[in-house]
Amino acid sequence: MSDLGGQIALITGAGGTLGSSHARAIAAKGAHVIVHDIDEGAAQSVVENILEGAQGSASPMVCDITNGSAVKAEVSKAVNDHGEITILINNAGITGNNALLKDIDEAFFDRMFDIHVKGAFFAIQSVIGGMKSVGRGRIVNTISGRAHSGAVSGSHYNGAKGAIVGLTRALATEFAPFGITVNAIAPGVTPSGMTRARLGEDGLAARAKQLVSDRLPTPEEITSGVMFFLAEEAAIVTGRVLNMQQPRKAEVV
């Protein structure tokens, strides 16, 4: 996999499980990583972890991803300090908590769409000028296997992820002339802050038993999907979703 030396990467929600794994891997490939999260302590500890291991260079960014003007202000500060951002991983998210349709109130619906869709939309807007000026960029969005498969619950979460699929396809078309690719990964259930809250340890273990592999992925295995899209060799891959949901034992395909 090619070197990312000289590049600046912004990873939203990188204080969490998957985001911190992406951050470590991208820093290890030589990019400067901006570790964004709403949780300052979480962002700081991921930065320290990268710096301590001398595994690359990193700095924190703290703001609510739903606050578009804060995101723009923080990004321009970071660009001043480090240079144009050429890699953006939209990863910040919250769980749909297996909520049933009847129980999802307007506040929960709006929070879900604001964090996932509005958050990704305006994070991209805050970096796109820089990517266009440099003439390259890699944007990787995070959806979920649930956007494709649906589920018996959490339809606000699943719908928000479906919106990001649409966004990914639209922007891939729009940004292709500028050397910018836009793709998405669709992880299946991976033990993380979010999935522990939703399923608990027992629920996670039960989920593992349903899968052909008999186990859940590690965050690093999900990160491998992100790293594929960042590789120089993947320059022509755009508008695609890498579905990393594992087949279930009963599935035919």
Partner: protein, 209 residues
């Protein structure tokens, strides 16, 4: 009399669907695409025995370079499409359950499947409908409710706008083509179809996307 609730039925597509369903004996109720969940729920309450919900709401759409889509334009589109559909389904769910079942048809576009420069907000909003459809089909099946999606490439986000007025079938898609597909799903032909997407585009989306 059975009711059909069609969001945003005052525009050409909604009007044509309404007219067809009226001719089949439905009483038509509607609500504008303004994202106001409270008044939408109220309108659904007064509509009575809704057997069919058509999520047709689509705010006026203007193609914009991505950087020029501001927060208000983005919010209007997301609220008018995704929020309207979500809270319409939430409100009709108990009505349909009480009446032994029903059908929901989400009107989308092929844009989330084939991509669309200058339509990031529109494509995101319509993209939510694909995943909503797949989810609600599962969640609401035990209540005998079918949920499907019809991608209508007639007005906004059309193949025609992207140089595809020549669809593989040789003519643009017409509103009547959508009306027929909706009527099919609403009728007995749609009784065992749920969680599906029908893209009515004259074959355009299959060409190289």
């Amino acid at each position: 009399m059975t009711s059909v609730f069609i969001t945003d039925a005052d525009k050409p597509m909604g009007k044509a669907i309404a007219k067809r369903l009226q001719s089949e004996g439905y009483e038509v109720f509607t609500h504008p695409a303004n994202g106001d969940a409270a008044s939408l729920k109220e309108a659904i309450k007064t509509a009575g025995a809704i057997a069919l919900l058509i999520n047709n709401a689509e705010p006026v759409f203007e193609r914009l370079v991505f950087e020029e889509i501001d927060e208000i334009t983005f919010a209007n589109m997301m609220n008018g499409v995704a929020r309207m559909a979500f809270f319409a389904v939430q409100a009709v769910h108990p009505v349909m359950t009480k009446n032994g079942g029903g059908k929901i048809i989400n009107i989308a576009s092929s844009a989330p499947v084939r991509g669309m420069a200058g339509g990031a907000h529109f494509t995101a909003a319509k993209g939510s409908l694909y995943s909503f459809t797949r989810s609600w089909a599962q969640e609401l099946a035990p209540d005998n409710i079918r949920v499907n999606l019809v991608a209508a490439d007639v007005t906004t986000g059309t193949a025609a706008e992207d140089g595809g007025s020549e669809t593989p079938l040789g003519r643009p898609v017409k509103i009547d083509d959508i009306v027929e597909t909706v009527a099919f799903l609403a009728g007995e032909g749609g009784d065992m179809i749920s969680g599906q997407e029908i893209i009515v585009d004259g074959g355009f989306t299959r060409v190289g996307f």
